[in-house]
Symmetry: C2
Amino acid sequence: MVNKLARLSQALQENGYRLTAARQEILAALVGSEGHVSADELVGLVRQDAPGVGRMTVYRTLELLSELGLIRPVYQGTGAAHYILLDDGHHHHLVCSGCDRVIEFDECAVQEISRVISGHFNFEIHGHLLEFYGRCEACRGV
Amino acid sequence: MVNKLARLSQALQENGYRLTAARQEILAALVGSEGHVSADELVGLVRQDAPGVGRMTVYRTLELLSELGLIRPVYQGTGAAHYILLDDGHHHHLVCSGCDRVIEFDECAVQEISRVISGHFNFEIHGHLLEFYGRCEACRGV
DNA sequence: CTCTGTGCAAAGGATTTGCACTACG
DNA sequence: CGTAGTGCAAATCCTTTGCACAGAG
């Protein structure tokens, strides 16, 4: 987790962005939340430690991280966007259509596909998201 | 494409929903658009053929289709949600962080993973989305 | 010292209620 | 016929600008 924070900070600096106090707070809150928050929830988390941080700084930092490919906004259920951490380069979800629950899993066999696609489209791949949709055990009404 | 329309219509009816005139228009517009539209764009498309259809009927139908796992909202760039058709059960994207362009591809080797995950979590899988993020040829400044 | 980043308030969209009306089955 | 579905307008919520100030390099 400390590693994740360091990696995010470093990525910002390497791309010519300043590592300000506000950004450090935001990154810490993001990592601490395991990377599953809406922008608004994140504002709340950040303000627990740093009450002075503005809502828009959070929005702008999220946009910045998205552009760098470090996080990704997804829809989870309805309403506001949720952000997931991609700093390991990949992320995997199991999304239940019934209860909108999100389960994460680690099995990843996308490497080969990744290589093929990359060559095929001359596309430089930084990360990926794999989501399965269906019904979880509970919602199937076992 | 006619098949897709029929499959969507059938899915609605099988789940106890009525196949109204408005819904038929919406489904047709969705299939005709190749399944890459925002809610607002879809309202426009539907109204070309059926001017009387209300914005909210479109929203509600989209929500309904999402619950049934037939479509999925995703972020493409910023602003409004875009909906993609999952009626084949799967969908694959290549998203460029630079220009927000979305390229679709067909290579799919997720079947095995799907089976493993399904058994592992006792989760009934209906479809999936696989997205790769990175930089396209143009944005790498070849 | 300069330029990037920040915070506030207010604007701008997108999405969602509430409720009377229509039409599918 | 009864109930699910529809349409309108207004409300609500999320996100984005514009601009003066503060802080990093």
